[in-house]
Amino acid sequence: MTDAAAPAETSVRAALTRALDEALGADETVVLLGEDIADPSGGVFGVTKGLSTKYGSDRVRDTPISEQAIVGAAVGAALGGLRPVAEVMFMDFLGLCLDQLANHAAKLRYMSGGRTPVPMVLRTAVGAGLQVGAQHSQMLEAWITHVPGLQVVVPSTPSEARALLRSCIESDDPSVFIEQVPLLQRRGVLDDAPVPLGVADTKRAGTDVTVITYGRQVHDALAVAESLAADGPDVEVLDLRSLSPLDSDAVVASVSRTRRAVVFHEAVVTGGFGAELAALVSEALFGRLLAPVLRVGAVPAPLPYAKNLETLALPGRDRLSTAIGHLMSFGG
């Protein structure tokens, strides 16, 4: 029996479905396309479940296995006045459709002097942590944050997943919306607050160290912060939510207070988005930091399959704790 007083919790998955449902309901021009997204399948992770039944399989449309055509058709549909939300099943498959995304979606507004904006969303999933191997696990946000013209979003909670996806759909520019599969089950109370792109959120205030993070790593960072709370440093957890546009003001403001920062993300460290954050903080707060900006992320290798190695490869709470300990070893 559920407690009548406690507000109902929703999963990230359901929050995403709701965002799509709301967008489809609110705006005739919103359309969805992707492999197996229509019912009865409703998407391999179930995010689009029920939507083709409700809005028709012409508006929530299955495609052949053709990632270039999926993204290219989204670009074209956007040029033609629709607001397509395309699904590319795994982010690893960006390598198949990055031309459409980076050479077309990202550039058409600019190259046309503003004549042809591309209001589309590309939703894509990341399987790291589920033992699905090196080709189904990659957080590749570094590829797309490097491309001017693209917006890049990684949600961490149900409410923000819903609100950020709505913001992406309403944006007049192309966005990539990244859904980490292990996060889909995470539950929380859904609120109705909109979340604009480009605004970070302080998930926990702290005075000694800022953990700059996003996506499911936010929860690991919070757990580490709590575990240290009793007799360790007071850790601030800053959830970027959108990487492009980046809320660099919030990043700099937080670290200018804590004077110590660690970037924590699931992607490989080398050349990861953490490098941009570390470079930015180090430059903006030169001479004011108590410790170097550290980066915690995946090791420089393809993600191994064996469970023990996969765990070692991905950035976990242990490595974040160690990094925080290291930061605290610098004076203050």
Binding site: V31, D58, R59, R61, T63, P64, S66, E67, Q68, A69, V71, G72, A73, A74, V75, G76, A77, A78, L79, G80, G81, L82, P84, D99, Q100, N103, H104, L108, R109, Y110, M111, S112, G113, G114, R115, T116, P117, P148, G149, Q151, S171, D172, D173, P245
Partner: protein, 327 residues
């Protein structure tokens, strides 16, 4: 030949369009040779009939997606000469404020939604435009114009299949000019015709003489009628020739002896003029007048455009995303 050919006005318009393309091409090549203009220029000379023919078969609001070798398509689809040339010359008055360049001309007012420099990438985008038209029920058709070489790239396959499965109102118009860069057709595929590939998607395919604008008009009219009737896509192959090679400066040493002479024999603008004069649609004098008029229009516009300003420095960071401007 289709049931209804173009009426006399349309035929005259097709002729004028072809003449204007050839005049524009001529002026640009001269200006590049003279050093007045610098750019990587992909001449469409020889392919005028394809562009004029397909554009005449379309509604003004039908969509077009084309490529770096796009000048003929741009002109035929009604992009005004001034912003077109201004874009090619990197001027602020260009279709893209000079920021796109010749490979990226767009003119949504007449349906030109994309010019891309990536071989084949326009096809899925055309499919998407056709999807938008299908959903909006506005009866529009999308045309993807591309080369023979482009029919070997993955995007061609995926776009054709998607369009067939979704019965999209799109026409895949292959301008088979015999070469992809320096590689002759028989060296890059083993089918006799690009249109032989249509069957792989359960789509009709047809090959026409791309140097005959009426043949192109007819094939595209039929394809557009099918598309508008909800019967899905068609692959139309127009066989033609690139008279000045791949890019300005190409010495065409890879072309077998005799081939170029034969191609000039079949050159479409003079051929169509002869046809119109022979059939009495146009007098020699009237044809001369069209040619002079077009040459003058191009020369005047080019002069005018040469005097225009480059984009302002603050355009650098404008249009990256909505509302971006300045540092």
């Amino acid at each position: 030949m289709a049931v209804a050919g173009p009426d006399d006005d349309s035929i005259q318009a097709i002729f004028r369009s072809m003449v204007l393309i050839a005049a524009c091409d001529d002026a640009l090549r001269s200006a590049i040779s003279a050093g007045t203009v610098t750019m990587a220029y992909y001449s469409p000379r020889g392919q005028e009939a394809v562009a004029a023919g397909f554009a005449a078969a379309l509604r003004p609001d039908d969509y077009l997606v084309t490529t770096y070798r796009g000048l003929h398509d741009h002109i035929a689809k009604g992009v005004p000469l001034r912003p077109l040339l201004a874009e090619m010359l990197g001027r602020a008055a260009g279709t893209g404020k000079g920021k796109g360049g010749p490979m990226h001309v767009v003119w949504p007012d007449t349906g030109l939604m994309l010019t891309t420099g990536v071989v084949g990438s326009g096809l899925p985008i055309a499919a998407g435009l056709a999807w938008a038209a299908q959903r909006q029920g506005d009866g529009r058709v999308a045309v993807a114009s591309f080369g023979d070489g482009a029919s070997n790239i993955g995007a061609f396959h995926e776009a054709c299949n998607l369009a067939a499965v979704w019965r999209l109102p799109v026409i895949f118009l292959c301008q088979n000019n015999g070469y992809g860069e320096h590689t002759p057709f028989a060296h890059h595929q083993r089918t006799a015709r690009v249109s032989d590939r249509a069957a792989a998607y359960g789509m009709p395919g047809i090959t026409v003489d791309g140097n005959d604008p009426l043949a192109v008009y007819s094939a595209v009219s039929d394809a557009a009628a099918r598309a508008r009737a909800g019967e899905g896509p068609t692959l139309v192959e127009a066989v033609t020739y690139r008279l000045y090679g791949h890019v300005f400066g190409d010495r065409m040493t890879y072309v077998p002896p005799g081939e170029l002479d034969a191609a000039w024999e079949a050159e479409p603008v003079a051929r169509f003029r002869r046809h119109l004069v022979d059939t009495g649609v146009l007098s020699d004098a009237a044809a001369d007048r069209v040619e002079e008029e077009c040459a003058r229009l191009v020369a005047d516009t080019l002069d005018e455009v040469l005097a225009l300003d480059e984009p302002a420095a603050d355009e650098l960071l404008t249009d990256v995303v909505a509302g971006t401007r300045g540092d």
